[in-house]
């Protein structure tokens, strides 16, 4: 009875441990994936080459208001 209980507890801990490691790995993967996606978006914006309100453009607008 005691051995069975210990076994159940070990299995539970083992399962929880494996699950935790899996979850952590998933989180890391998602984070790294998100970072890659953000980098891709930034690169895409730069590649599109359209109008952007940069500091340079904002400075021009300020001078034109004089």
């Amino acid at each position: 009875m005691t051995d069975k209980a210990n076994l159940k507890r070990r299995q539970f801990l083992l399962t929880a441990g494996v699950g935790g490691v899996s979850a952590a790995a998933a989180v890391v993967a998602v984070k790294s994936g998100g970072s890659d996606a953000a980098k891709t978006d930034t690169a895409a914006q730069a590649d599109q080459g359209g109008y952007r309100l940069t500091e340079h453009v904002a400075a021009y607008y300020r001078t034109a208001r004089v």
């Binding site: 590649d47 080459g49 359209g50 109008y51 952007r52 309100l53 940069t54 340079h56 453009v57 021009y60 607008y61 001078t63 034109a64 208001r65 004089v66």
Partner: protein, 209 residues
């Protein structure tokens, strides 16, 4: 999405032609082609007015409508560009444009028309941004560099404005309010001398000069 526009404040333009020179230098525009020029009305007469004129990047561009090879296209920001690989140099766009924006280099001893060339709002062409080929055909792509057209940036009196139409409209509105005049210069009555519409009241009590 911002809408790119030019506007020239005729009250400020002093006909220095700095915009014309800057454009030619920045894009290495060939001889015989002026993407931008300054037009003066009543030159030499008191009250003369000058305006810097180039492609106005029309919302309903006549050049796009008449082009037989459909070489024009409009970017997301409303900039009208064209593909020189498709252009056949027929000159239809030159006749259709009310601003005389399309230019044709004198290619050869007999004045043959080459590929059309015009203001690109410093946005290049269909080639890869800031590539050597794009520069050779269309000039520098300043929008891709996070900048605005050089003609507007170098204007010493900030008469020529270029950029986001909403911002420019707000800047011009502030100028009109400061001067106490200017809004009434627009419209059919002024352009065609037909007093068919009552003159708009001045925004402030300031005297008109």
């Amino acid at each position: 999405m911002a809408r790119m526009k030019f506007i020239c404040d005729a009250e400020r333009c002093i006909e220095c032609n700095g915009c014309v020179t800057a454009c030619k230098n920045e894009h290495e525009v060939p001889w015989g082609v002026n993407r931008r020029r300054v037009v003066t009305i009543n030159d030499g007469v008191p009250g003369e007015r000058s305006m810097s004129v180039a492609c106005m990047h029309c919302s309903d561009a006549p050049c796009m409508a008449v082009c037989p090879v459909d070489c024009f296209y409009r970017t997301d920001e409303g900039v009208v560009l064209h593909d020189k690989d498709l252009c056949i140099g027929c000159g239809y766009c030159f006749y259709a444009c009310p601003f005389g924006a399309p230019q044709f280099p004198q290619a050869g001893a007999f004045g043959l028309r080459g590929k059309m060339d015009k203001c690109t709002f410093c946005a290049g062409g269909p080639e890869a941004n800031s590539s050597e080929e794009e520069f050779r055909k269309y000039g520098r792509n300043r929008l891709a560099e996070g900048k605005l057209p050089l003609c507007a940036e170098v204007c010493s009196t900030k008469a020529l404005l270029g950029g986001d139409a909403d911002v420019l409209a707000d800047i011009y509105r502030q100028r009109v309010l400061t001067r106490g005049k200017g809004a009434e210069i627009w419209g059919w009555s002024t352009a065609y001398g037909k007093p068919d519409a009552p003159a708009a009241p001045a925004p402030s009590a300031g005297g008109k000069s």
